[in-house]
Amino acid sequence: MFGTISNIVAAFLTLCIFSFLYKDNPFYKFAESLLVGVSMGYAIPLVYENAFIPYVYRPIFLQNKFLIIIPTLMGVLYIFRFSKNLSWLSRYPIVFGMAIVGMFVPMSLNARVLVQMRSTMLPLDNINTILIFIGVVTILMYFFFSKEHKGTYGKISNVGIWYMMVGFGASFGYTVMARISLLIGRIQFLLGECLGLIK
């Protein structure tokens, strides 16, 4: 019984959202607002139960770990973001949050720069490594703006533009695939779980 009711509600809300394809209308607006409200309503007690109780209330009041009061107060300072006169206080927790950037820099440099660079410096013994080499060099030349993109230099940097276009095309193709997948998911739900037409 509960399954049937939840399917009817979900199907109605799906159709409300799909109605936007025709034009903007109150049904779409209702479903959109409901989504925002339900998401927040769901998140607040869950965060309270899984964050506030185990990491603030229980350590301070039940286990007498009073040092936790310091980071808790630091977190409370975020609330002053809403005050015009005291909003400067919210910068202190942000400062501590930014400390994490210090740890991020060396690790990120390794993961996203050094390892990536190493894999572009492979022996040119197959077509893939040759294509990677040409792509890296020509794109780097395209982004070198201290020299005018004319003559031979312009032609080489044009190859870089072609490489980037292929990259953007692949990315856009994947995006189209993703959006169609989401539509397929909803139609599978409407035809399968609601109407029982797919088995």
């Binding site: 869950l46 899984n50 964050a51 185990p54 390794n110 993961a111 894999s119 169609i180 599978q188």
Partner: protein, 316 residues
């Protein structure tokens, strides 16, 4: 005649977008209602991830961690992946952990575990064969990610049922990333790169990705460098993994490329439950929709060039 031709293309150029929506909807609905058997080719990133997961078969001192970093909006792409991997683990007696850092992902974990368990009819027990760490606040993402490099039980503390992780039977031979040797992040964001940046660089953990198609192109460089052991990209990746589980894990067979080439699994086969072939059925509709989009692009371009030619003629 030529005038009529130009008028036709002009009309095509100004076609109301809602007609295109109807055609795309039909291109999806018809293949879903009338399924046909199309081949699913296995790509290397999916094969590598399957082999990595499969290498943990029957091992007490190895486990995988599945991190659910998405909400219901990307379920059509990511949920079939999650169910397939859970099914793989249950079939091959592989210890599996789940965790999420988004409140809206918490019910998805239960839904995925229950789907794999109930539809597959597996006799697996929470705390022994698998363990759901449940929802942890996002602010604890990094502390937990780094903490698990030292001691999983200390970093996570309790599972979704409130039990102390250190007391669970599943934790007997598991301490940190040396044992929890594969982390698979399911997301529609760049969170997999956080696992690469910290868990991979600092602790040498193996990272796999189950990501939406939108994110796939961005993550390919990490495959080439070996920072990702494998990747499932969008619905296609899910369909490939479903097929591998059907061929090997459900028949208790070790992976072989020759078998993949020779085996043909029709998706109209009623013995395979719908939930275990949902991505492959979806890929049928996806293929037809892609063909429609390609046709529209070609028609649009022909219309553009014909209209431009006639306008140039008019201008002399």
């Amino acid at each position: 005649m030529s005038n009529n031709n130009t008028r036709f293309w002009d009309r095509m150029q100004n076609l109301d977008r809602r007609y295109i929506y109807i055609v795309v909807a039909l291109a999806i609905i018809i293949p879903l209602l009338i399924p046909f058997n199309s081949k699913t080719y296995i790509t290397e990133p999916v094969e590598n991830l399957y082999k990595k997961v499969d290498s943990f078969t029957d091992r007490e001192d190895r486990a995988i961690l599945m991190c659910f970093m998405h909400d219901a909006s990307t379920m059509p792409e990511l949920f079939p992946m999650e169910v397939s991997i859970l099914r793989h683990c249950f079939e091959r007696n592989i210890k599996v952990f789940t965790i999420c850092f988004l409140p809206t992902a918490a019910p998805l974990i239960d839904y995925a575990i229950n789907t794999a368990k109930e539809v597959g009819g597996f006799d697996v027990k929470s705390g022994i064969d698998y363990c759901n760490f449940g929802y942890k606040p996002y602010a604890l993402f990094l502390p937990i990610l780094l903490g698990m490099g030292e001691d999983i039980a200390e970093a996570v503390e309790t599972d979704s049922e409130g039990r102390k992780v250190e007391n669970l039977e599943i934790m007997k031979d598991l301490k940190n990333y040396n044992e929890l040797n594969l982390v698979i992040d399911f997301s529609a964001s760049a969170s997999v790169q956080t696992w690469i940046t910290y868990a991979r660089v600092k602790f040498g953990a193996n990272i796999g990705a189950g990501i939406t198609a939108v994110m796939a192109a961005e993550n390919y460089p990490f495959l080439q460098t070996g920072q990702l052991v494998g990747m499932l990209g969008g619905l296609k990746g899910a369909a490939e993994y479903e097929k591998l589980v059907d061929i090997f894990a459900s028949n208790n067979v070790v992976f072989s490329k020759e078998i993949v080439k020779e085996t043909w699994i029709p998706i109209t086969d009623k013995q395979i439950p719908y939930q275990f072939k949902i991505a492959r059925i979806g890929m049928n509709a996806q293929s037809v929709a892609h063909i429609m989009i390609i046709v529209f692009i070609i028609l649009g371009n022909i219309g553009y060039f014909v209209s431009r030619k006639s306008k140039n003629k008019e201008l002399g």
